[in-house]
Symmetry: C2
Subunit: 138 residues, 2 copies
């Protein structure tokens, strides 16, 4: 379980100053047992509700982007108008529930190892991302 001084360490070690705002966001994002999927809009609303201090929207954008750059968040783009951030940065894939717009983690072992049989000269594979769209069954 991460505590405040854990977050301070985490931030410092990646060259980010542990400011009030970043710590607040850390607590909200990383102090959980389960993976958390959110859009910037979501995060902004939650911060407004759960916190008495006001964090400016620009700071929320900045923080999420620097957390992403430092590898603390992963971005999953599901369509033109919706991009989620994922606190689970391990190698894994996703269900997207079309009926509810909810993103759900697939563990690495939930998806058979994927073999790509084509390669391009001078290029190497950086990542493989699978998005499985699901919908109601009726």
């Amino acid at each position: 379980m991460n505590n405040n001084s854990g977050f301070i360490e985490k931030l410092r070690s990646s060259g980010l100053r542990p400011t009030k705002q970043r710590l607040e966001i850390c607590k909200l994002l990383f102090d959980r047992k389960k993976t958390f999927h959110f859009t910037i809009g979501d995060l902004s609303k939650i911060l407004k509700k759960e916190t008495n201090k006001k964090i400016s929207l620009a700071t929320i954008y900045n923080t999420v982007h620097s957390f992403k750059k430092k590898g603390y968040l992963k971005e999953i783009s599901v369509d033109r108008e919706k991009s989620y951030f994922d606190t689970n940065t391990s190698n894994h894939h996703h269900f997207l529930d079309i009926s509810t717009n909810e993103l759900i983690d697939l563990k690495e072992e939930d998806v058979d190892n994927i073999k790509i049989k084509k390669s391009l000269p001078g290029k190497k594979i950086k990542s493989i991302e699978v998005l499985v769209k699901i919908e109601n069954n009726n």
Copy 2:
């Protein structure tokens, strides 16, 4: 090889009036041997260059969206700020070249059949999309 009257038929049969603008866009998009990947911005630029008639931006948006709805185009969202349309609407996956921002088709047989070992009650799988990010090999 599709000709103009082929496009007229195609449009009519899906309840779209074959207007000058739509035919122009059809010719540009579908009168090719190879799959074509484009953003709306790309398409707009190409139309401006290749055509003497001016097609308004709103019409380009409308047309691409109705072609997508009719199943003539597939949309591939690669990140928050970039969404491609693909004239290849068959079941297939993609390479995204991070170095050039180019999208490249993978044929269905280029990717081993993907087995999802998890299922959610009341939900069924609608589609499986694989995006393989590649980069220069140096």
